[in-house]
Subunit: 164 residues, 2 copies
């Protein structure tokens, strides 16, 4: 899969709804593709700006919503403590991937596990549903970290209890 395929997919979606491809939409899509991580809209906006594109935050919000609607993006889980929505690229994703969240630093890692999907499908069927989508979050404590009190993946001290 490459950027062009993504652009084509998006253009087809836009056409089908009487909408237009624009330079702004193209830049946003290409940037999401090249970054290929989960992201929040504000970050995406800043990075586009750093890359020299003057695209308003409103347009980024509007475009991300379109991309989510046509199945190129989907909303993902947020690092703990965050109050904004996170998205990830799903178009052309070969293997389903789950999320492992570090309890200390809140960061999210992606994990592939081919067996899990079948298991979830079976659960859905038991309830009279056909599995359409899923999301799995595992919150874990790094063994090394639990002993030392420092998160080696982020270099951060163990965060204090939430205030109040």
């Amino acid at each position: 899969m490459n950027t062009q395929a993504l652009v084509n997919e998006f253009v087809a979606y836009l056409r089908s709804r009487g909408m237009r491809m624009t330079p702004e939409r193209r830049h946003i899509l290409q940037h999401i593709f090249s970054a290929h991580t989960h992201f929040e809209v504000d970050d995406l906006h800043v990075r586009l700006r750093d890359a020299g594109h003057r695209i308003s935050k409103a347009t980024v919000y509007r475009t991300v919503a379109l991309l989510a609607n046509c199945g190129i993006l989907r909303s993902s889980i947020a690092p703990s403590g965050s109050s904004s929505e996170y998205y990830e690229l799903v178009y052309g994703l070969e293997t389903p991937h789950e999320h492992l969240q570090c309890q200390e630093c809140g960061r999210v890692f992606e994990v592939a596990d081919p067996v899990l999907l079948g298991h979830l499908r079976r659960i859905a069927v038991t309830m009279g549903y056909e599995l359409v989508d899923h999301s799995v979050k595992i919150v874990g404590r790094c063994v090394e970290l639990r002993n030392k009190g420092v998160c080696s993946k982020s270099g951060l001290q163990r965060p204090p209890e939430r205030p109040q």
Copy 2:
């Protein structure tokens, strides 16, 4: 498990932090216990009001945060389209439970599956983590519903595509 055990747990937590039990906190906790579903703060506030308790929304927010901090509540998944945080009672929960979300009406059902937990634990270990918590959301389409275009569980028509 009963309300008293919950209250005791909460009082112990409050004591340990130099905080006090109040009538407001007691009413909120008891109401959460008797409703025993996942909920959003605004709903909880309205229901408390309907039950005759004049508790401000600020106090409900503050108390829910405390209950989440001490492990009696945890944040749960929200029905699709909702922009507010949902919580659920976890204190004394015997079996781990996952969430099945109806793609049409967005409602969330709880599902117990004892095997899944072991699987998730294995995934965590593979990544060098010890499983501390998890959440699983399965999005499904009810077979009957897909044919008829109507959600039999909610009585709602299939919702239109999100606007824009």
